[in-house]
Symmetry: C2
Subunit: 468 residues, 2 copies
């Protein structure tokens, strides 16, 4: 696919839609040239446009489609796979000004928001009505639009699922400019193809989401965190299926090892309990009453003791609880600080995690690479980072390592990305392991939405075009 | 679209794939000419074919696609919208022989089954491993494949969601014969477009599902049913948002009125408690312990008393509980018995149900039509049936009534079908209220899967072709 160049006439036409101050063509564009993924990838867009409403988005898309100009939609730019990087140039369409909470509906337990609303804004607005958005991908400055685009996951998926589980409907602008509405304030619906679910996780390649209808719940009464040390990672991870079989449904179950705990301590200066042990589970529990939380914690403790745990730490107060959660949330910046070379986000069946991590570490060791692993033991989502100094030789070795890890993960019935999305960072790895019939079908679906291929080109399965 | 005729050579080619005894061309075809929807619609297929495995399905589809012969996939034929009726003739592809439970995986809480497995088979196989499939669409002889096709709902959606919420992955054969696999044994996944969710609810128009990966839960410890009489239906339905705001999450909340209760008593001969009251909620509750069930029941009772309920009936024993549930399950055959003319399956936001039912009844009364209403108050899914003697005049009047009801429902933010699907029965009503841009997009998606339009033609949004 080849794209047309942005001309000064085209820029003027954009300005006529959104006003001159919302069309950026100077150095301010730099802030829109990349996201938070690793590595040095950044591409300057020809122009950044910041519409305020759906109608403006529709007019921009009609114009871009007519002229064959690529458009890369953008939320807060907190993505980790390069999904918001405008690798074919053209327009970055930033949704930052569409940041209004339109409604919190207490009777139907839902909220209607614009895509530029951040997670922290949503948590707050829901909370003011006694309601709750249970998905917690971690980065609260991320936008809902970005969360929808990547089907963001996080640490609470065992009990609550992922972004997909909480989106009831969308308003979206097609690449050709038509505005569609999908879903509604209900869970039951079987009235044609589920466009809501198709657009979720499509990483801004099928449509630009301009409004999101979100299911909310009541605020849970009580919560607790259990921090449980094990002699080995294998012991820790093998406890997980048995925790769930014991009839409790924690919010999340995270696994981690001594290496990352000690790195976090160095990076943050905060001391973490039992930091000399080898491996840990961090189990988050919610229930209505203290008694229920207590009963659940006891069941989990019993299972873990049966798997070799020698302690169950419960933070003694709110501050200690907060510190423990914050330590977990600091894993990503910590590893960045110590030289993150890549990030792996593979998901495997939870019964396979122990084996997957062990095999992956062995492969890395054999290649002389230091691989840090942690992740969401309750939902099978494993994060792994090769760390070290970035040189061309190391990068080549890391690339070879990743190719191996994806093969191993897929052979265990896994998928390439659990929660970050493919973007550009995982595109080629995905194409390396995905069934061609499935990829061809995805391409045909893409064309059904976007006949000229102008929306977020070069992502998922699409190798990039060049401006002609 | 025009289709080719089935020739004797084509029938022989089918027999070469599945064996002669699995190709039906005689009177046995009659059992494959309709489903359980109302009205006299039945279309004889030219040929019925019963493959035993995915490879055979793939070969049949390649053959049909090459020859331009329409194919209508079929499960148990228990659908209520005509989705399995072969209205363009050609092949009925029955999945009845693909009825094996391939695996129940206790470590990952899931099952892998063939599409012809019935709900009762699945409940039993899961139960033997201490696991549970919470979706309960009611008709336990329905197949999983059919449930996936229609995204079946049922009485337990308030707590558990619908079929869509429990399907982790699929194996499916495209209309062109390629076999694809989607999803896996995990909830988190963002590796390209979610084909699993797109195929669910597509009513056999996009692909033939040949294997289903189903999420299971543990068996809930305790359950209870509350049967609560109210002075008016309005009182009953208005209690529903407040029940949910009270911090309890029932499995389901059903509403019904005296008319249907008394019809069921006549039809079944079973006496229903408090049958002289005007309106009722039936609330189903599940929890781990008796104490939790009791606490939940008390909260629900308190809310209902506040909304004018004058009693809360708890069945005194297992037999009474069973009778009450069975009475609810008999609504459909009861109304059929008393002259069901049509079935409406509209879903509206739950805060709108009272208003929607009141307006609908008023419109029916004004037109001189007797309209029975009941349904799933907790999830907004309203079932309404005009009843009476079927004459051409009455049918025309009922058609006019339905057009009005769909308009009213859509104006309240509803959707045409909550759980039955559009099939052919609701196709034209759907096309009458759906946004054309959305319909055109669905048609393009259909073409991305099915370029020759051979798979289940004439359904959803597609007006039928004729054999040429």
């Amino acid at each position: 696919m080849s794209y047309m160049k942005v001309t000064s006439g085209f820029v003027q036409a954009l300005a006529a839609i959104v006003g001159e101050k919302n069309v950026l063509t100077g150095d301010e564009r730099k802030a829109y040239s990349r996201d938070e993924s690793t590595g040095p990838v950044a591409v300057m867009p020809d122009v950044v446009v910041r519409p305020e409403n759906t109608e403006a988005v529709s007019r921009i898309m009609k114009l871009a489609n007519e002229h064959g100009i690529p458009v890369t939609p953008r939320g807060a730019g907190t993505g980790l796979s390069g999904g918001a990087i405008p690798i074919a140039g053209g327009i970055v369409l930033s949704l930052e000004r569409m940041n209004k909470i339109i409604e919190v509906d207490r009777d139907n337990f839902c909220a209607t928001v614009e895509p530029g609303v951040t997670l922290i804004q949503l948590y707050k607005a829901a909370g003011e009505q006694g309601l709750y958005y249970p998905t917690y991908p971690g980065e609260t400055s991320a936008t809902i639009g970005g969360n929808v685009a990547t089907n963001a996951g996080g640490m609470r998926a065992v009990r609550y699922g992922v972004t997909r589980s909480f989106i009831l409907g969308l308003q979206a602008v097609l690449p050709t400019g038509e505005v569609i509405e999908t879903g509604g304030k209900f869970v039951k619906n079987t009235s044609g193809y589920d466009l809501t679910q198709l657009i979720i996780g499509s990483e801004g390649t099928l449509a630009i989401v301009t409004r999101v209808l979100i299911k909310l719940t009541l605020i849970p009464g009580k919560s607790e965190i259990l921090f449980i040390p094990f002699p080995t990672l294998k012991d820790a991870i093998e406890a997980v299926p048995d925790i769930l079989k014991a009839g409790v449904l924690p919010v999340g179950i995270e696994f981690m090892e001594k290496d990352i705990i000690q790195m976090v301590e160095k990076f943050t200066g905060v001391s973490i309990p039992m930091h000399d042990r080898n491996a840990f589970l961090m189990v988050m529990v919610e229930a209505e009453t203290d008694e229920q939380v207590q009963a659940t914690a006891e069941k989990i403790g019993d299972v873990c003791f049966g798997h070799g745990a020698d302690d169950v730490f419960l933070p003694p107060n709110a501050q200690a609880k907060k510190e423990l959660l914050e330590a977990r949330e600091k894993f990503y910046p910590t590893i960045s600080h110590f030289g993150m070379l890549e990030l792996v986000d593979i998901v495997v069946p939870r019964s396979k995690i122990a084996e997957f991590v062990a095999q992956s570490k062995q492969i890395a060791t054999d290649m002389g690479i230091n691989l840090v692993a942690y992740g969401h033991a309750g939902d099978g989502n494993v994060h792994m980072h090769p760390i070290g100094e970035r040189t061309p030789e190391v990068e080549a070795k890391v690339h070879k390592l990743l190719v191996e890890l994806y093969k191993v993960g897929m052979a265990m019935g896994g998928a390439v990305s659990g929660e970050h999305g493919l973007g550009i960072a995982k595109r080629d790895y995905f194409l390396g392991v995905a069934d061609p019939a499935r990829v061809e079908l995805m391409k045909r679906i893409k064309t059904a939405f976007d006949p000229r291929g102008i929306l977020n080109p070069g992502k998922l399965f699409d190798r990039p075009g060049k401006a002609s």
